[in-house]
């Protein structure tokens, strides 16, 4: 066994991989060999650290020095200065990690200090492709405890008492779901995992599977024991190649170690796991459509009841939980339901992972206790809005959710408070918007998404959302008519009441919630034919201020369609007929003489 004096952890999540972390790993290996350090320093590829905005991320232990935005060219310097001579390369350290010349450990960085990591506990800590590292951090201990010490009913009781609710969006109590399935008469049952993460902007499930795939495998085996199933399926979207690969490796390693397969831990419990790839349909994240797709049919939902716990995969009792839900299970078993129930709010226990994106400084993954306010997430963890702009709204729950305006920044985030605000937890996408975002345009974006992704089985969703989109398109083009807003509201109400599955029932939410908080913007579009944020192109024009214009001619040179004309000492003008509203002139004007109107 080799002891290394130093470990270099390089993030191998999707975000950092796309900014060259694979090459960084190779470069480290080359330089370590060059300096004859390969037996002293170990390079480890880990899962996502969460601070994706600053990727690629490299953390060097035992110092815990966190380097951000590392380039391949920086590797030589880190190797020669830090690893060879012990001098930390200060210029590459993450901003928050050093003050007064000393470097703080990772746990003290603002971005991490306010988080509480349960589902993400191993992400960025272990090598996801090495089962022994997972075992080192108490991996598979929960499964061992469950199989050797607890009865299935006791397992379900623990999950029920923990108060864990589904992290995929609906928030249904997990223990109750397991109990329904367990109570069905014996015979074949199934355990499924929903890794068909489809909400725009959400990537927490991907990160868990990339950074800690064994936690999901272990939890699914526990679920199998609890309900009496010996077979599981992970339904994962094919667009997540790294997650698929690591999960595959993890399943193979678990089989090799006898943690999947026959007679696990010498008991008579057997459990096997298979991967099923989704082909990119958003509706397959809906539970009945997902199971139809696993069966090999076209992914379309069916009416419930019967619920999957009674009649699921191939007509057998099935439980389906989300990746993040599973990632919590081993910790609940090990630390006890009281520990978990002690975190969070009255009705929402534990933590939630959010994928924070949009107009925010620290884009990335954060895990916070339920009940943390939106303000803390945006300003304390997220680092605020770039360029000193004003916070306008946060979008949660993706195409099924809604917007939370600035006036509710201090609402503690949990399942019920978000529903009250007309939004929902969803899978945990959190898109931050500033004053430059047009709320009508945002609603249109999400509706475009659902119209695209509607499977077409039921008319309210297939036709209704299309009609709503047509109205929104009209409004954003400045052709809104009196009564359009009322029509939108009526359509939304009817679709919610009559659509077949969750996709359709929640599709109008982005429109309803923006109407609730930003009706004035809709009215401005329809009545005054104006887009207050200056986003909807057909309603605004670029104008050159005659007083501020110095007739330098830069704008005319830059204009791609030659819509600007003028001459020396005469202010330039934009021909509105020709203008395509690309905004280049405004960007290039050195005197800020061009503005949107």
């Amino acid at each position: 066994m080799q002891l290394y004096r130093s470990h270099v952890l390089v993030c191998g999540g999707t975000g950092c991989t796309s900014s060259n972390s694979e090459k960084i790993i190779a470069e480290f290996e080359t330089h370590l060999a060059k300096n004859n350090l390969q037996n002293e320093v170990k390079v480890v590829k880990t899962g996502c650290f969460g601070l994706c905005a600053k990727g690629p991320i490299v953390v060097v232990y035992p110092e815990g020095a966190m380097y951000t935005m590392v380039k391949v060219e920086d590797v030589k310097e880190i190797t020669e200065e830090h690893l060879l001579k012990g001098r930390i390369v200060r210029r590459l350290l993450h901003n928050d990690t050093h003050e007064d010349g000393t470097s703080k450990s990772l746990e003290n960085v603002d971005f991490f200090a306010r988080q509480m990591r349960i589902a993400l506990r191993n992400c960025g800590v272990i090598n996801p492709e090495d089962i022994t590292e997972y075992i080192a951090y108490d991996g598979y201990k929960a499964l061992g405890k469950v199989l050797t010490e607890l009865k299935p009913e006791e397992v379900i009781d623990i999950i029920k008492r923990s108060g864990l609710r589904g992290r995929g969006g609906g928030g249904f109590p997990t223990g109750l779901k397991w109990e329904f399935a367990a109570k069905q008469p014996g015979g074949q049952k199934y355990v499924c995992c929903n890794a068909d993460e489809g909400d725009p902007g959400a990537f927490m499930d991907r990160s868990v599977l990339e950074g800690d795939p064994h936690s999901v495998i272990e939890a699914m085996a526990i679920a199998g024991y609890a309900i009496g199933a010996d077979q599981g399926y992970v339904y994962i979207r094919a667009e997540y190649p790294i997650a698929v690969k690591r999960l595959q490796i993890a399943i193979e390693q678990a089989k090799e170690y006898g943690l999947l397969g026959k007679n696990i831990f010498g008991t008579d419990f057997s459990f096997d796991l298979e991967i099923r790839l989704g082909a990119g349909a958003f509706v397959c994240g809906e539970e009945t459509a997902l199971m139809t797709s696993i069966e090999g049919h076209r992914g379309e939902p069916r009416p419930r009841p019967p619920f999957p716990a009674v009649k699921g995969l191939w007509g057998k009792p099935t439980i389906l939980n989300n990746v993040e839900t599973y990632a919590n299970i081993p910790q609940i078993i090990l630390k006890g339901p009281e520990w978990f129930a002690g975190i969070g709010t009255e009705k929402s226990k534990g933590t939630k992972v959010f994928a924070v994106g949009g107009k925010i400084n620290n884009t990335g993954l954060v895990e916070i206790p339920m009940g943390t306010t939106l303000r803390e997430v945006v300003y304390d963890i997220g680092g605020g809005i770039p360029n000193g702009k004003k916070f306008k709204a946060a979008q949660t729950g993706g195409p099924s959710g809604g917007c939370i305006p600035a006036s509710h920044l201090d609402t503690p985030i949990d399942y019920d408070s978000l529903i009250q605000l007309g939004s929902m937890m969803g899978s945990g996408g959190l898109i931050i918007m500033d004053e430059d975002n047009c709320m009508v345009d945002i609603a249109k974006f999400f509706l475009e998404f659902t119209v695209d992704e509607s499977c077409g089985k039921c008319p309210p969703c297939r036709i209704g959302t299309k009609r709503m989109l047509e109205i929104l398109e009209r409004i954003t083009e400045g052709k809104g008519e009196e009564g359009d807003i009322e029509k939108l509201e009526l359509l939304a109400k009817n679709i919610k009441a009559s659509a077949l599955c969750g996709l359709g029932q929640t599709a109008p939410n982005p429109v309803l919630s923006t109407l609730r908080y930003f009706k004035d913007e809709y009215i401005a579009h329809v009545k005054d034919k104006k887009c207050p944020a200056g986003v909807c192109k057909s309603m605004m024009k670029y104008v050159i201020s005659a007083e501020a214009c110095k007739s330098c001619g830069i704008c005319a040179k830059q204009c791609p369609v030659k819509a600007i004309s003028g001459e020396k000492k005469v202010p330039y003008v934009i021909d509105q007929e020709k203008c395509i509203k690309c905004g280049v002139c405004m960007e290039k004007c050195p005197f800020k003489a061009i503005f949107k109107n």
Binding site: S6, P62, K85, V125, T132, A136, Y257, G266
Partner: protein, 122 residues
């Protein structure tokens, strides 16, 4: 996997290899690796520490580097910090001296007084 004991064995074994990533409560060996230290032969000293610790399977001891401590004439300098924060400074270290420091100081808790800075300055 046939038993919990088997799992526990893997857990312990791997944890020893990776526990330097979490907060470490064991001893720390800090080797001065500035230009002066390297010139005086600090690298073979550090390698000797790693080899010796490996040989004895002492996994809760971390070996790190630091810059110039300031008494360059006494390099290679190695500081050993125990879990209570008590610091011992060894000077003019050689790979040969390392074996004794590991055996007496790190394993048995007896400081090798004759190698320390106090002794050298007498």
């Amino acid at each position: 996997m046939k038993s919990l004991a088997e799992l526990e064995e893997i857990r312990k074994k791997t944890l020893e290899q990776i526990n330097l990533r979490t907060s470490n409560n064991g001893m720390r060996v800090v080797v001065g690796m500035a230009t002066c230290g390297i010139a005086a032969g600090a690298r073979p000293v550090m390698t000797a520490f790693i080899e010796e610790l490996n040989k004895r399977n002492l996994k809760d001891v971390t070996v790190t580097m630091t810059g110039c401590i300031g008494v360059c004439r006494l390099e290679p300098i190695v500081e050993i910090i125990d879990k209570d924060g008590n610091k011992t400074t060894y000077v003019k270290m050689t790979p040969e001296k390392v074996a004794r420091v590991v055996a007496e100081h790190i394993v048995n808790g007896r400081v090798c007084l004759d190698y320390t800075i106090g002794e050298a300055e007498k």
